[in-house]
Subunit: 340 residues, 2 copies
């Protein structure tokens, strides 16, 4: 019996390639309906699983809506302070292809009873187009979950990276949630909108981020509400400072009754690397040292409190608990409940 | 920050109770459509996440379709050879309520390109009614996944327990997959259909199983095809003997190209108990000693081969890898791929 641990990755590509054919086949299958002849060669359904999952936290209802996943070649600079061989070993230990990195993305929607609150927005229509639907799925999966974007009251941004803010805009560069107030961390807002900071940004990633943030928020007429840390922004939704990954990076303690989850945002990216190896800095961390310190502090707290954590970059649906393992942490997915 | 590890369990009950109201609310939300006023109090969606997940194994397409999950009070006899205190400890270590046991259920459908093959069928309409929809979801989730029951060519049964065979029948006691051939392990068939064995069955669970199997297969006019171990029953689907849980209990090696998964059926029930503690016998094991020996053998193989395993009683979607951990095994869910 042979194992090919690249197979799922390959399959993902393969399936993407044959997407158009499969979609046609699926349509045929559906239209065959009740009169489908048994024993006919079965066309591959080719349709991906729905990308949303719903659970409750006390009286709150949380809907995790995946924006998709993408893989890319691992580069020596991806982890800032570990040799690529060590990173490859960590990937192999997690049954991943040792030369490819996979990023997962999942915004959430919290129904507080009074308000529908989106936290982060995914890569938006641009990412969808660029990746042929591997990313930027948030909008369509949100609708599939039964939530109308027009019914969203509040969009909360955790930090100003493209995979969190770009989904604020629809394909016509209008607010994708037309009736929503947009809330942003005041530290992020101050930093990224400051012309002096922008002029001092190093070329490449930082300069691109400044440019992207102007693009997004200028399209919105810079109409946002800034929020600070330590004060609820909606019933049961408390923003807390988890800086490092970005200067104003924010996580959320979401609670109702005696139930609590911790919405970590990007305290780690893929946990197979950055929870198992919390001291590794990511190329995407604005201040890798601060990001590491924050990660240790948050994860030690998650372990001590046995707290449920919702991870934007965890594999869908991204609800989990954390345990100590070796010098790092192991992320244990919470079991899926088929009845809400 | 307080953790209430019972909360998700409680929430499940709570949500089930308010199901009818929530369904009405969801309908209202949907019909509000484009004209939904922003800032209106948001009704809870109350709709559970879709219960299917699809992946490929080489050229095969596998659709996992959950039948649901249910919880029940832990009793001293649930594990045959460990004190209930030890079992409670294991549940607490898995962040489960120490006095409640949770069982998950998930049949699969394999599209071989030529055939649509269902493996196991869930608890059927009776379970659905009895549990108010917590179990017996297979039929509706199958349709949600885009698969018409009439298009199923073959239903393969792993063993003759109610949660695997009862879904063979629809609410009118007809074959739920009207165009399918029903394949059953010949050892199971011989044992459960034998009048002598039935007359010697101990009262209670064994007698009930005999009675239930007569009910199911008599309704089908005993029209089944028996299969042996070690010979493919459909392209890429190889049944293998994993006896103990039941006298003819069967697992499947499913492979295509250089990709393979191991469909374990009930080699373990909930892995938090029976993979972490492989030497524990379950009250539902026909021969607990043989079940333990099989479990060790299969799990050692899964570890050695780093093989993907699909578990009927793993939490949905139930695709995982297995590692050694302490004296037992740890089941590591495979990451969810949002693009097929």
């Amino acid at each position: 019996m042979e194992l090919d641990h690249l197979s799922r990755e390959d399959d993902m590509t393969e399936v993407t390639r044959r997407g158009a054919i499969a979609a046609a086949a699926a349509t045929t299958l559906a239209s065959m309906g009740a009169s489908a002849p048994a024993g006919a060669a079965a066309p591959a359904a080719g349709r991906r699983a729905p990308g949303w999952y719903r659970y409750t936290v006390g009286d709150l209802e949380v809907t995790v809506v995946t924006d998709g996943a993408r893989s890319f070649d691992l580069t020596p600079s991806y982890v800032t302070n570990a040799p690529i061989e060590e990173v490859r070993k960590a990937l192999a230990a997690a049954y991943m292809p040792p030369n490819r990195m996979i990023h997962h993305y999942a915004p959430i929607v919290i129904n507080t009873g009074g308000k529908l609150v989106v936290i982060d927005t995914g890569g938006g229509p641009g990412a969808y187009k660029q990746t042929k639907g591997e990313l930027g799925q948030f909008a369509e999966n949100l609708v599939a979950s039964g939530i109308d974007p027009k019914s969203i009251d509040m969009v909360v941004i955790s930090h100003f990276h493209g995979d969190h803010v770009n989904g604020l805009l629809d394909a016509s560069n209008k607010l994708a949630f037309p009736n929503a107030e947009v809330l942003v961390p005041e530290v992020e807002w101050k930093f990224w909108m400051d012309d002096g900071e922008m002029s001092r940004a190093s070329a490449g990633r930082m300069a691109d981020l400044f440019k992207n943030n102007r693009r997004i928020f200028d399209a919105l007429g810079r109409k946002v509400t800034t929020y600070g840390w330590g004060k609820e922004i909606a019933p049961g939704v408390l923003p807390v400072a988890t800086t490092g990954h970005s200067i104003g990076h924010t996580s959320y303690v979401v609670s109702s009754g005696n139930s609590t989850i911790y919405v970590q945002s990007d305290v780690t990216n893929n946990p197979d690397l950055f929870a198992r190896h919390p001291d590794w800095g990511g190329a995407f961390d604005q201040d890798p040292n601060a990001a590491v310190a924050t990660r240790r502090k948050v994860y030690d707290m998650l372990v001590a409190e046995k707290l449920l954590v919702q991870g934007f970059h965890y594999p869908f649906p991204g609800l989990a608990r954390v345990e100590k393992a070796g010098g790092g942490y192991r992320v244990i997915p919470a079991p899926w409940h088929p009845t809400l």
